[in-house]
Amino acid sequence: MTLNIRRFFPGALLGGYGLLVLGLPLAGLGYALLGSLGMAGPLAAGFTLRYWLALGANAGLLYSALFSSWVALVSVGVSLALALSLVLRAQPTLRRWPLPGLLYVPLLLPALVLAFCLFQLLSGAGWLARLSYGLGWIDSPADFPELVQDGAGLGIILAQVLLTFPFLTLLLQAIYQESRLDELRQLSSTLGASAGQFRWRVAVPLLLRRAAPTLLLSFIATLGAYDVPLLLGRPHPQMLAVFVATRQQFDLRELPMGYLAGFLVALGLLALIGVLIKLTRRHAL
């Protein structure tokens, strides 16, 4: 029996790839499930539903999920509104120097660095507070409104908007040009449609439909953000990734709960990515 190297090599490559990309995360997921049932991990002492039942009494994960959803919804919503208004209302400016180049600038900033900058800018002793003091608006850092490490996650939302809206603007502008929306605008105007009707009945549905997979992915990415909320968030409520990571890193007794949280969050995000794949395929058709 001879080994067909041409068939064996791609098969072995895909096998290795599957092991890394599917095997390792799924094994991790299985380990987290076993850990939450007391069957794996350093505190494993046999099957127990204690941690799952404790979930009902401890609303930390639920708060965390709600807080993350709020931050992700508002961040992506505001970013989308800004990007849409730029693409639909500032077309000539978007095509002229320096705006196309300018929109790439925030893509240079790692999320952690942007969070650090916003902290230096918006905290009680930050640069804006100092300007306010100089203008006589406040008497001490405590008088400055809480814009970072606040309960509503304003600082996190601002950072996520700054990171997301330039990217969405570039994406929507590319779709606008590929879809020849300028020509469609002229056509709809010839047929008697007003500028507003073109925007709301032609341009916005088309742009949203084609950008839907990326929008959902941006939502998922914000939902699982870690760097920004770690610097600009509060210990309570925490965003999901911070909630899971802190429970698995610092207190061994919280490890099973950390496994459970990690398992549930991963499962929820996997369901969302399933929707994303369906959207991508529908768009491809």
């Binding site: 995360p25 790692p110 100089g134 992915l217 990571a245 995000l269």
Partner: protein
């Protein structure tokens, strides 16, 4: 007028972080309520040249890690994308490649950490490299999947018909054709690893001090000057890439 106002506003918003970082890196004794530093010093920048320069070591570590991830992910992704394109289960493989995106890097890191510990890779450069490849390889595969169309196969077959060996068809036909996409993938996977903090911090348990880990650590120590210098160093390679190829910074596989 409205257009100038818009551009002015965006220049202000996007420029402010860079200006602030520069001020923080050069400021001396800059405390509340001063709006501008009372004195300027190059002391924080000089730490870069110090013999035991932790910052310079961090820069080297980040460059090594991101460069290795970019090379391995792009080369591996090119091969895997070809195998995926020619597989009977092409769509299923593509769907599987989205899995690492479903999970935030830090969550992925916490999930695979028990296995990284068993492989004795926890807290090592190898463990972080494996973790980053877990995200970068499927990213590169999805990005490069579009290259392996029927057209690419036909070009390959044509080259073989005209007398090229497998190696020649690959090196002289397919590679030059794929180069623009390969270059974009190299840039993107480099940036993916360069910008990462969560996954590196969890898998290295703080031991592999890349530049992002150092920024976080300096912020924690309230050493704003060094945090600003490390941040400026982090911005440098993406700025160079922006100069070289703008599109390479934002192209996505979906």
């Amino acid at each position: 007028m409205r257009s100038r106002l818009l551009i002015g506003l965006l220049v202000l918003v996007f420029g402010l972080p860079f200006g602030l970082l520069l001020l923080l890196a050069l400021a001396q004794g800059w405390h509340f309520p001063r709006a501008l530093p009372p004195a300027y010093s190059l002391a924080a920048l000089r730490t870069l040249g110090a013999a035991d320069g932790e910052l310079l070591a961090g820069l080297g570590r980040s460059l090594l890690l991101a460069g290795t991830v970019a090379l391995l992910a792009t080369a591996g992704g090119f091969g895997v994308a070809r195998a995926v394109a020619r597989s009977r289960w092409s769509r299923q493989w593509e769907a599987a490649s989205y899995l690492p995106y479903a999970l935030p890097p830090v969550l992925l890191a916490t999930l695979v950490q028990p296995f990284i510990i068993r492989l004795h890779l926890s807290g090592s450069l190898g463990g972080v490299l494996l973790g980053l490849l877990l995200v970068a390889l499927p990213f590169a595969t999805l990005l490069l999947r579009s290259f392996w169309s029927v057209q690419a196969r036909e070009y390959e077959q044509l080259a073989r018909t005209l007398g090229c060996s497998v190696g020649q068809a690959f090196g002289r036909v397919l590679l030059p054709l794929a180069w623009p996409l390969l270059r974009t993938t190299l840039f993107q996977t480099f940036l993916l690893a360069w910008f990462d903090f969560g996954l590196t911090n969890v898998l290295s348990v703080g031991k592999v001090r890349t530049l992002t880990v150092q920024v976080f650590s300096y912020v924690g120590e309230a050493n704003t000057a060094l945090a600003a210098v490390a941040s400026l160093l982090l911005v440098l390679p993406p700025a160079l890439l922006l100069g070289l190829n703008r599109a390479a910074l934002w192209r996505r596989p979906w």
